[in-house]
């Protein structure tokens, strides 16, 4: 099993290296469709541009990664097999190769420069909300200003306050009558939004750190008490999108779930009106209960809201 002496060993190794790298590329291409099956891809599919762009950025990184992975593992496995100890195999006493080493340093740097450049091209569409689409909710004064928040170019978005608390999410929508927003409609756990409408979120916490995450609607954003955070989404497909708190917030962290239900703008308006009425009715009932409780116990102060 001695080394053949007819061909130049360096050239032979070079040819095999090309073969291995070529094979790696072919396998990477073959695996790519399987990757589509979802086992290798993050969630998206609500038609929200930020989630879709993150997903495509992820895919580009994945392809580059697969080629590197298969190439390096291929060379490693080949080296282990080819240069295993056996009769007649003498280890070459070489200490390095400056040109080769500079080459692979530059190669590694180049790959990262490309990935960085691709990230920058997508950054704007991921971070900054677009205008609402044609089929969206007509936004007239629905928006209320929150300094530092994200706004689409035309300044019109449905702005919802997301408030994390152990262990539930509270969503406050614009649309109350009072200027201070104290009678704004709200929901817990389930957020209802209109489709084709840019929804901007102000994310806050009233106790510990939480993290807002609906996988199909883009990334995570921590709710840090005292530091409002901001994100957005714009759903084009009606449906229910589920998620949960992503940052350890206490014992029932796993139970702190959230869902976003996307409906047509007309359904949304109807729902919001219904929600306002339901809250008003509940407030009236609570006030009545306080009065009757006050009468029963004689504690008049309880009846004073």
């Amino acid at each position: 099993m001695g080394r053949p002496t007819t061909t130049h060993p360096g050239r032979k190794v070079g040819r095999r290296l090309t073969l291995v790298c070529g094979l790696a590329l072919v396998i990477a291409m073959a695996i790519a469709p399987a990757a589509m099956a979802g086992i290798l891809l993050p969630e998206s599919g609500a038609g929200s541009p930020n989630a879709d762009q993150i997903s495509s950025l992820y895919k580009i990184t994945l392809y580059v990664a697969l080629v590197i992975f298969i190439g390096v593992e291929g060379v490693l496995i080949y080296a282990l097999y080819r240069f295993r100890a056996r009769k007649g195999n003498v280890a070459a006493q070489i200490h390095g190769n400056t040109r080769l080493e500079i080459g692979w340093t530059l190669g590694a740097a180049l790959i990262l420069i490309v990935l960085g450049a691709v990230t920058f091209t997508k950054l704007d569409s991921i971070r900054n909300p677009p205008n609402s689409g044609p089929g969206g909710l007509a936004l007239t004064g629905v928006d209320y200003a929150n300094a530092g928040g994200l706004r689409p170019p035309d300044g019109k978005s449905l702005n919802i306050l997301v408030n994390g608390q152990q262990f539930v999410w509270r969503f406050t929508y614009p649309g109350g009558k009072q200027a201070n927003g104290l009678d704004d409609p709200y929901t817990y756990e389930k957020m209802v939004v209109p489709i084709n409408t840019t929804v901007t979120l102000d994310i806050v916490s009233q106790d510990v750190v939480h993290s807002w995450w609906i996988p199909q609607l883009g990334g995570k954003f921590q709710a840090v008490p005292g530091y409002p955070n901001h994100t957005w989404f714009k759903i084009s497909k009606p449906g229910i999108y589920r998620g949960q708190c992503a940052f350890i917030c206490g014992r029932l962290h796993a139970r702190m779930v959230a869902e976003v239900q996307a409906v047509t703008p007309a359904q949304f308006t109807t729902w919001l009106d219904g929600q306002k009425k339901a809250i008003a009715a509940a407030n009236t009932a609570a006030a009545a209960a306080r009065v009757s409780l006050g009468k029963k116990t004689g504690a008049a102060s309880v009846a004073n809201p």
Partner: protein, 564 residues
């Protein structure tokens, strides 16, 4: 009296020689770096087993959707204890233990620079571990190994568990700081004659960098946890948002320490691989200077990237971009090392002994951890992936595939030196393959769990999609991994008594520790050899060969070659 003499009067300086201590009490009084090293290694391995049991319980709980095996409270305690144990009580002190034992031997020194401080380091570390584990009998910490605030303030976690965690950080931190200064001084001042910086073994380079990182990072976490302690008990408001404190301050301080800590855990592993690969490939390390430079560069860049743990926090995008680019930059020297290691194997004559297998397992596995690290450095992608099982998979590929595999490589490589006996190759290979396969089965699928939306640190999940199946695969893998670890434990215990006698240099090593008998005597070297190259043992063997002119025994000091 005042007789002037032309020549100085010869003086006899009598030093009392310390008798070598023996008996079980010597383990408590020893200041010998080798005994302290053994204490470190054995103690950390016990903590490794404890942390492993916690991991198995975590995996059992997650083996079924909506499982009720442990309560949410217990689950949070389990992952907090698991993470804290593996980082502060296993990987970092294990590296310190290996450094303790082998740095003086590799640089041709007779002990560490400050032997008594060295003993203090160990006992502080042990005290930290005991305090953390005593909390098992009361209420263990449950705020995660990151002890996030405000959750870790008394309003949310009033129990003493968090305090035990704080004292653990204080004690192990002080231990690491003292140990790091000791290692630094030892390496800078006590190298054998002729051992210039360009002849310093790469493991010692990595330990020098490890020491510098600890000296920079430990004071920050020490201050941060002290502030947490005063917030909890003495009325300060550093972190409490309701009184003007800042939870973001904690995250910054914690990760300013936490990210260098990652390199503290992995760089010594890199160093061991750089020592072991050349020995078993029978070839010099490929690109010594590039590897040494990459080690230092990784450490420096590692101090600039902590914000990549905070991509989801309310932080200006320009800061996120800085963290992304600095994280990218780290990938370059890391990639260079990977290529250099493969270059070391290339055209070698590779002997597949267990230490080499663990090194190769490290190369194959760490590559995946490195690549997923690039995904996580791209912050919009990280917005999807952070705090999910994708990150859990990534960090275990780096820490199990990186630190644990290299520690096992080190154990198999140096056990003959420490004990004078060989470990069984047969059991070693079983252990390797089970650990290697178990590792992949446990953690590869966790990437998909994260991509499917499963956050980390949840005690239960709903039975939707493939979540339960993926989790079961992972739980199954964790048992394979455990059996692999168990076999090494058996191997070690067995070989202590019945292992083949190793002789001074069973692997034909390159570095000076193989110049000593196995185990080395208390003073390490009767004569400290002059170092003339990066591989002094090769020179010594060649010199002996030359002098004996091909006589019957080519090995130094009559090393008995053991076929195992």
């Amino acid at each position: 009296m005042a007789v002037a003499t032309a020549t100085p009067i010869p003086q006899i300086a009598a030093h009392s020689t310390r008798r070598e201590e023996s008996g079980w009490t010597s383990w408590f009084t020893t200041v010998d770096h080798k005994k302290i090293g053994i204490l470190y290694m054995v103690t950390t391995f016990v903590f490794f087993i404890l942390g492993g049991v916690e991991a198995l319980l975590i995996r059992l709980q997650l083996g079924l959707a909506n499982n009720t095996l442990v309560t949410p409270e217990t689950y949070n305690q389990l992952f907090t204890m698991h993470g804290t144990t593996m980082i502060f009580l296993f990987v970092v002190p294990m590296m310190a233990g290996l450094a303790n034992y082998f740095v003086p031997l590799m640089i041709g020194a007779r002990d560490m620079a400050f032997p008594r401080l060295n003993a203090l380091s160990y006992w502080l570390f042990l005290a930290g571990g005991i305090i953390l584990y005593l909390s098992l009998f009361f209420s263990p910490p449950e705020g995660g190994w990151i002890a996030t605030v405000p959750l870790s303030l008394t309003s949310y976690l009033p129990s003493g568990g968090v305090d035990a965690w704080i004292y653990l950080i204080h004690l192990t931190g002080l231990s690491s700081l003292i140990g790091a200064i000791n290692l630094y001084v030892t390496i800078v001042h006590m190298r054998a004659p002729g051992m210039s910086w360009s002849r310093l073994p790469l493991f010692v380079w990595s330990i020098l960098t490890f020491a510098i990182l600890l000296i920079v990072a430990i004071p920050v976490i020490a201050a941060a946890v002290t502030m947490l302690l005063t917030d909890r008990h003495f009325g300060s408001h550093f972190y409490d948002p309701t009184t003007g404190g800042s939870p973001m301050l904690w995250q910054h301080l914690f990760w300013f320490f936490g990210h260098p800590e990652v390199y503290v855990m992995i760089l010594p592993g890199f160093g061991m691989v750089s020592e072991i690969l050349p020995v078993f490939a029978r070839k010099p390390i490929f690109g010594y200077k590039a590897i040494a430079a990459a080690t230092v560069l990784i450490a420096f860049l590692g101090l600039l990237t902590w914000v990549h743990h905070m991509f989801a926090t309310p932080t200006p995008v320009v800061v996120l971009i800085f963290a992304m680019i600095s994280s990218f930059l780290i990938a370059v020297p890391t990639g260079v090392k990977m290529f250099n290691w493969i270059g070391t194997l290339w055209q070698g004559s590779i002997e597949f002994k267990t230490p080499l297998l663990f090194c190769v397992g490290f190369l194959a596995t760490f590559l995946i951890g490195g690549i997923t690290g690039v995904f996580l450095a791209i912050f919009p992608v990280d917005w999807q992936l952070n705090d999910t099982y994708f990150v859990v998979a990534h960090l275990h590929y780096v820490l199990v595939g990186g630190s644990v595999f290299t520690i096992f490589a080190g154990i198999y490589y140096w056990f003959p030196k420490i004990t004078g006996r060989m470990l069984s190759e047969r059991l070693g290979k079983w252990s390797f393959w089970l650990m290697f396969v178990g590792m992949q089965v446990t953690f590869l699928i966790q990437h998909s769990l994260g991509l499917d939306g499963m956050p980390r640190r949840v005690y239960e999940y709903a039975n939707v999609g493939h979540l339960q199946l993926y989790n079961q695969i992972s739980t199954f893998g964790s048992w394979i991994l455990s059996v692999g670890v168990l076999i090494t434990v058996i191997n070690v215990v067995r070989s202590l008594k019945i292992g083949a006698v190793a002789g001074p240099d069973p692997w034909k090593g390159n570095t000076l520790e193989w110049f000593t008998p196995s185990p080395p005597p208390a003073n390490n070297f009767d004569v400290i050899p002059r170092v003339r190259s990066l591989e002094p043992m090769k020179d010594i063997r060649r010199e002996i060969d030359r002098r004996t002119a091909g006589a019957a025994e080519p090995d130094p000091a009559g090393a008995r070659q053991v076929v195992s």
